[in-house]
Symmetry: D2
Subunit: 407 residues, 4 copies
């Protein structure tokens, strides 16, 4: 049975519209790019399959693609982040939307497959997140004969694209929109940093000041989470695998410990590594009773949920987004968002103003592919430093900030 | 028509129960005091009328009063902060609860009057917030012949009690639970500091980093808000009326400006003064379009809403808790929580762990009055430094913190 | 043999003059008060004996007293803080100056006695620090028949004055210039906070980032030191004796530990308590090898030097202000400034801009006593909140800061 | 006349020895590498010409080179940073040392030329800073026939090496020890960040809290300076030329302004760009009277001193390292360290513990060249990520920090 969103209620469409309008009022850069694209329509004739968390901000990006002339099919790509009202408002404009909030992991995959096959002759462009669609395309290349190019948005997805490129498997261009300052620093550090503590606050209402807050992983996301947790008064403990990173974390004023020692004193523990199975059963055995456990890394796999389940004697949903796992002897841990992305599930993902920058890069990349995809060599392309500067310049104008580059 | 909560639905009671249990799990000090009071029952025979924001944490305090032997009548004392599920769960235990979320200002007063007259022969003790009930008692003293004593919890309320005491109007003892370290620093600074930015985050989802965040007033609450806004990356601007305070704010690293200049550059403006009419029409005229406006001071009066309304051409509820006031020329400001307490309306008030300390002081004061009210002189009494230390010691034990006083 | 400074070299006088001029350029408030006092000369006919660390900033205060018409005798009151060039420049203007840098503890007392008896008929006013002169006066009251009043500047000294007042021993007015915002917050927290880490930096050149920095005591000075150490990237650990203070330190984001546990992990340990013998032999036994040990509290007694000496096998001056105590087994600790005030010995004491405020309060108090001492009741007087506000207002003007009080 | 240090006094040698020993006690990584190199002596037969600021930490590096078997000639490469006692102690061990503190710019060049020609048949290895020696070699290549390889330590120097490599001018291998985490983050950000504010504190004694502190340039050094200035309570204003950098600076919580606007409000202005002539006359015209002006970038050229001099009516040395330039109308600015590197001139350069990491990389690179230079291709080589990790691992061990990489 198809997961396509059809005939949404007028009320849901209205709320989605309201949500999109509010987001748009915080996204001046994307709004300005859309105004230009609505005139030139560089995506006229293109069919786009997209797979990025279907939040209100993604909705604004999708509306830009429509305004630029494209037909669009979309899916959110995970279990918890789709905002159904936004999905409804997009469906109401003719977007083929697949999936909804609360679907199973299997349904996530089915929705992605549907988004990719929503057009009889397949998409001409793919906008990806975590390389889910690209992987499917590579696995069944003949089925997508008219595909011209793709973009990929995440660190983890870019890693996979790079590997496929190394193996010579990319016979079409893929533009990674990740290794750029506005993405690394703005989205990963400041965006996810804030939205993660926001998610924890909304889920638990806990006082952060004075808490021992363990951040697992100290890449751009981990740094952002540490910065914001410390900014709310936590004593931050960092765990990581690289020696140079460990030195940096310590010089930044954080405690550095092996995960085993950190877990044993954690009031709150948050994973931010991009790798699976980082928190294992033997770590769970060490957590103090009452510890809060959550994840803001790439997917739901950073905390080994099977090993948590195996130790659980009773589970209760004590608040929305908070599942209390009672373990042996009455000890308990509170798992947030079922181990999924706490910032997208318990809060609203990264702030609109941050996604404005990230999606401006995404939009400019897509618009350029709309015009030039055929001219690009197959293989990996990185968004240029010039586009990075252009997006930053547009953002500074929107923020009313003057700097020496504008003299 | 009475505003008493009667016959709540089982589902509402169940959700309230869940909420109370979750709060209790974060309030170990209050829980321990309750365990002791349930044995000694020092409030046996007492009738208590209370008027404190009816959150889940207040619910835990009310349950302690019940366990100590009291009969209880309660009202929340404002328009927006009553959690209806908690009210239901208390009513289900026999508490006389008055008012609900979303009542009018007039109904707030009626509910307070009902809480005070809920017992045929009136209360023996009053637990007050902002001196609302005490003021009524003083205005109609003969109607409350069995009243023995009262407590008052806020800065503003204590100011009024002190004034009445100076005028010789207090013919019963009033214990103010405010001028103590655990209240000033823990509740006002760290509690309200966090819950205020939490409320702003939940209401707007805005990125705080890089924003100009104006804090109006730099008492304990203002300091807490400034600390947390800066901790999330804001550039904080402080306005205040005292010269010594202005020096402190500047040395703390904040910009200090007159309100007129601050308003003109504010991305977010939050009042925290305890005084009415701090933000006036001529300030509103200066706010940049898109500015967020909110209040975390004593009541709904810090922002002059009449003067805002007079300038408003259109109002839209763009998100829950966010009312967009479109002003002349298309300029707009987003008013949070209708100008009421943003931390109680858009978030959940101060964290349970903070209220644990505040209400432990409240509870110890009430329990002592239960035993000793008759022995106390009429007039103003302040909670002793010894009780302050006792609560702090209990909290340190609950947090597992060892310090030199315990050697 | 007298410790009076006589016939200083022209070169020393010149350097002192330069130093005084530089300080004056950072002390606009004191400079403006001097300009007014030079016209009204409210100290005409007064003889002042003063005992405050003889730094360049104190020198500017002394020059103000001269300009206001007083004759002045002065001593620094400790072993290490007298700046000999400043002493020379003051002596050159006719001030009776006693003591020099590097005198013994016994000589410190002799110099104080000389400053008090420098005028044949004794002083009319005393300006004190730590109540050293006042104590002498009280012990030999008849010898100072013309004494009209005194001021006291420190927390510890005010404590003693309050005790003498309670005992009814004060038959003359003593104005304490301590329990005021501009002193508590500006001088103790921000002034001593910075000058202490400055002293540690100058003495050791050590990287602070990533260090475990133990602050012993969490009053205004301790808070300032913790704030600045954290601001340089240290992981701060606080030890204290009060439970409410311990709660505050933890909520401020610091680790709280008993001193025994803190000492065992200290990279740097700094006392800031105002009490003697805080760091004892059994703490010294726990310090890691290489630990830096220093004091910024009231005097040289916070670290028990006798117990350190008893454990020392060898002492070497490894850098100016750094004495390396080699203990049993080759373990060593680096004691800064011989356990005296590290901010005065290894750095230059609190910044001139801070002393501008502190000494403005001192100066205004002295000038008022010059006019009104006879009218004041004997006993303890505290500087008024109005003077506090006046000094703050003058400072804000000097800093070019506008605030709402000036509207 | 040669600038070689000959026959230093025994007292100077003794003080240099003490200084080297103190530094060594803070440099455990370098000390351990020396212990290994003293056994294997991989530099046996090598002649090294070095040009790196001759501080006590550089002295420890030079002693390591000696212990590894090399003959060494050295010069500091600037006017102000040479510590004469350290130079004396090295000369006493047979090192050919050229230059001294306080030489002219022309003498700096002569000393560098002498260090390069100190061995009759020239050096086999060059250790460079800012590519001064390498440039001389390239300009007169035939004169250095036995040169096998060189290392370069700075960002600016690496930029020049990269350019020469692009032009095909490098016919010998040059290893840049710069683009690595332990250098970027540890040395540039945390090392120079601290030592720069340390230099400003020592030179001026100014209170940093509440000051407007302008950081010109926001690379790794600028970020470190901003971080530390903010940590001492300053309100930091950043100026920069890149849009992406401007966005980052603002999100980090700093004000971003064009330099003209920033200069007009600066209490303290510090350059950290690596480029010449950043602060020009038209900026100097805007500085408020009393502003402090300093530089911590690559060399003495960031502030245009000629344009400052042209505006100066009188210059006075008001304190060591502080030159007061009185401009038209009595306005003045205080120039620190004559516009040279304030952290090396007024303080002691980066902390020994930081240089431990930087020079460990330098030492490992030199030791490897000692063994393998002949096997390396001509042209640019970067220090490998593996060496970076190795140095970090050694540092973590020295700091007693456990992390997950050690499991």
């Amino acid at each position: 049975m198809s997961l396509r969103v059809t005939s949404p209620s007028a009320e849901l469409v209205r709320r989605g519209r309201e949500s999109l309008d509010f987001a748009r009022s915080q996204m001046p850069v994307l709004d300005a790019i859309q105004a230009e694209a609505a005139v030139n329509r560089p995506l006229e004739g293109h069919r786009i399959s997209g797979c990025i968390h279907l939040t209100k901000e993604t909705g604004v990006l999708v509306e830009l693609l429509l305004a630029a002339g494209a037909e669009v099919a979309w899916t959110g790509g995970d279990e918890v982040s789709t905002q159904d009202d936004v999905a409804a408002a997009l469906a109401d404009q003719g977007v083929r939307v697949f999936g909804r909030r609360g679907i199973t992991t299997r349904q996530v995959e089915e929705a992605a497959a549907e988004a990719l096959t929503a057009f009889p002759s397949g998409p001409t462009l793919v906008l990806d997140n975590g390389s889910r669609l690209i992987e499917t395309v590579l696995g069944d290349r003949d089925r997508f004969p008219e595909l011209l190019a793709a973009t990929e948005k995440t660190t983890e997805g870019s890693r996979r694209v790079r590997e496929w490129n190394r193996q010579g498997r990319l016979d079409f261009p893929v533009v990674t929109v990740n290794d750029i300052v506005t993405k690394w620093e703005v989205d990963n550090t400041y965006g996810t940093g804030q939205s993660t503590v926001d998610g924890i606050l909304r889920a638990t209402g806990a006082l952060i000041a004075g808490k021992r807050f363990v951040v697992v992983g100290f890449g751009h996301v981990g740094r952002g989470v540490a910065l914001r947790a410390a900014g709310l008064g936590a004593r931050v403990i960092v765990t990581c695998r690289s020696a140079t990173t460990a030195v940096q974390a310590r010089l930044a004023g954080y405690e550095v410990l092996p995960l085993r020692q950190a877990a044993a004193v954690a009031d709150i523990l948050c994973t931010a590594t991009g790798y699976p199975d980082v928190v294992r059963g033997h770590h769970l055995d060490l957590l103090p009773s009452g510890a809060v456990l959550c994840n803001t890394g790439h997917s739901v796999t950073e905390i080994n949920l099977a090993e948590l389940q195996a130790r659980t004697e009773e589970v209760r949903e004590v608040r929305p987004h908070v599942r209390r796992h009672v373990l042996a002897g009455g000890r308990y841990v509170d798992l947030l968002s079922g181990g999924g992305l706490v910032n997208l599930d318990a809060a609203e993902g990264n702030p609109s103003e941050v996604m404005d920058v990230t999606f401006a890069n995404q939009a400019l990349a897509a618009l350029r592919l709309g015009r030039d995809a055929a001219a690009l060599q197959p293989g990996l392309h990185e968004v240029s430093g010039e586009q990075d500067q252009e997006v930053a310049r547009r953002k500074l104008v929107a923020m009313g900030i003057d700097y020496d580059g504008t003299e």
